[in-house]
């Protein structure tokens, strides 16, 4: 899968897609692949605040739980309620239908310090090399 060029990426494998002051956040294809089949997603309530670097959600597979860290700060405007019935969208479409939350950004400039698609792809290449070493 290719990594959308308009997204920004974190070292913890979250992606963020900002349009105007609203950003959509999800986990990357690499992350869903590492996690395995997603069985449950815990999402924050609409109106709650995200603080950069702090956990705001968790994604569960059968044998593991992954904490999801906020790539930027802001207030949750929408949470992807379809994930309650079809958590598997995170596996099948992690960059699209598997989005987690939409957030009104407190400081859009925060995204400038995140990786772009090329940097992220290089980053996960390194990770893959480390794993098979």
């Amino acid at each position: 899968m290719s990594y959308p060029t308009q997204f920004r990426y974190t070292k913890e494998h979250e992606w963020i897609d900002a349009k105007g002051g609203i950003a959509t956040i999800g986990i990357t294809d690499y992350a869903q692949h590492e996690l395995g089949d997603v069985v449950f997603v815990e999402l924050p309530a609409v109106g709650s605040s995200l603080i950069t670097g702090k956990t705001f959600s968790s994604v569960e597979s059968v044998k593991a739980v992954s904490e999801i860290y906020a790539p930027a700060s802001g207030q949750v405007t929408e949470a992807n309620s379809t994930l309650q019935n079809t958590p598997e969208s995170i596996n099948s479409d992690p960059h699209g239908a598997g989005w987690l939350v939409k957030v009104k950004l407190a400081n859009p400039a925060e995204l400038n310090s995140l990786m772009d698609a090329a940097a992220y792809e290089a980053y996960i290449e390194e990770k893959k090399k480390e794993a098979s070493a």
Binding site: D37, V39, F40, E60, S61, V62, P87, E88
Partner: protein, 503 residues
Amino acid sequence: MNDRIKKVTRHTNQNEGLIFEKSSPGKRAFDLAPMDVPAVNIGKELAESHRRNGVEDFPEVSEIEVIRHFTRLSTWNYAIDLGMYPLGSCTMKYNPRVNEHVARLAGIATEHPYQPQDLSQGCLKILSLLEKCLLEITGMDVITLQPAAGAQGELTGLLLIRAYHQKNGNPRKKVLIPDSAHGTNPATAVIAGYEVENIKSNADGQVDITALREKVNEDVAALMLTNPSTLGIFEQQIPEIAEILHAKGALLYMDGANMNALAGITRPGDLGVDVMHLNLHKTFSTPHGGGGPGAGPVAMKKILEPFLPVPVLVEKSDGKLALDFHRKESIGKVKAFGGNFGVLVRALAYILAYGPGVRQATEDAVTNANYIRKQLEGIFDLPYTRPSMHEVVFSDALQKKRGVNTMDIAKRLIDYGFHPYTTAFPLIVPGALMIEPTESESKEECDFFVEAMKSIAQEAEQTPEIVKTAPHTTRIRRLDEVAAARKPVLRWKPRRKESGAAG
């Protein structure tokens, strides 16, 4: 069926549905004696508002159906009585049958915890003797038999530690836990109100002393250590570890899950441990029963005695035993009615059967583990090469090259007639195979196991698919755990006829 597999072959095995699916109104499996007192009007006695008209859909079957139902179900289980469980840190040893017999004796099984203590001297003597034996084995000063399992023992231990620190003016904030620890350790620390700080293991799989020295300060309440570690390796620097902790007023907690490597050989109390728990369902042979009951006694040094859970077993001036409930500084109760007495009886029966000979059991356990290690070294990757005690940890690094991982190997082991070893734990060894044979395995059983593992390694090399899609011979193949977690179905429901209304 693979020609190489000698230990097991196919056999016709009964299918069986749920007991509710066999139910039919009017069938009975149990009769009561006729009532010898006047009958009463239940509706009047309970008031209609409280009255229940039978338990809906409760099963109605005959005695033979109950016997067949559970007998058939039992044949689908693997068990120690059938063969080895190489499960690391579980100590799946023989559950002696005399233990079952004595636990069921009239006068043992029938006693009520609130009956007069004068009428319970037999029970109290059993508890007293077990306490003495466990203290002798652990080298500690006092013990509580109250916790119902290892995890509850851990909690009790931490609550004792907290009470101790509190009395000294500072309950402290953190508990240090090695990254090789069992999951109950951090979970328990949090419930006890502490923060968890992980401490890394060094290249030898032991606690990193330098890291420990840096981390121990007056905010640290204790270090929770498993010894031997979950790698099966003895923590050689345990006396130094104890010193570092004690110098800052912190305590050393030992998770006694691996006591099967130490009983009769060395004593944690002599090594500097302040408090520890035991798993009677591991080291002391009480049956796992499919997942409990267990018992997790906590033994400690005298400094923690004031905080013991109530009641405390004491000897009165007339020589009789009694339960003392008046302990001002006690941490309270972690469970109602004392410990799991039935489990404690079984553990004492085990100790009495062995006597000081319990050392021989430890020696055989360590011999078996090392024998298996020697035969499988080179065939499986051995990440930590220090001497193994009662268990050995390999990794799937060699087999991974052919796309076969520890889970696959474990599942293929089932086709060879064994229960899998512990997979993917400890976390510090990626792709771990954790193997503990216990002393209950004969040379023959160990050889069968080694043969099976060697054969599977060969299969991983030559025909990996057969390993990756195992097991092949069980009545149920790999189950869809994803569906079970996404849409949990946790009970049987009767099929109802559709009513006229929608929904």
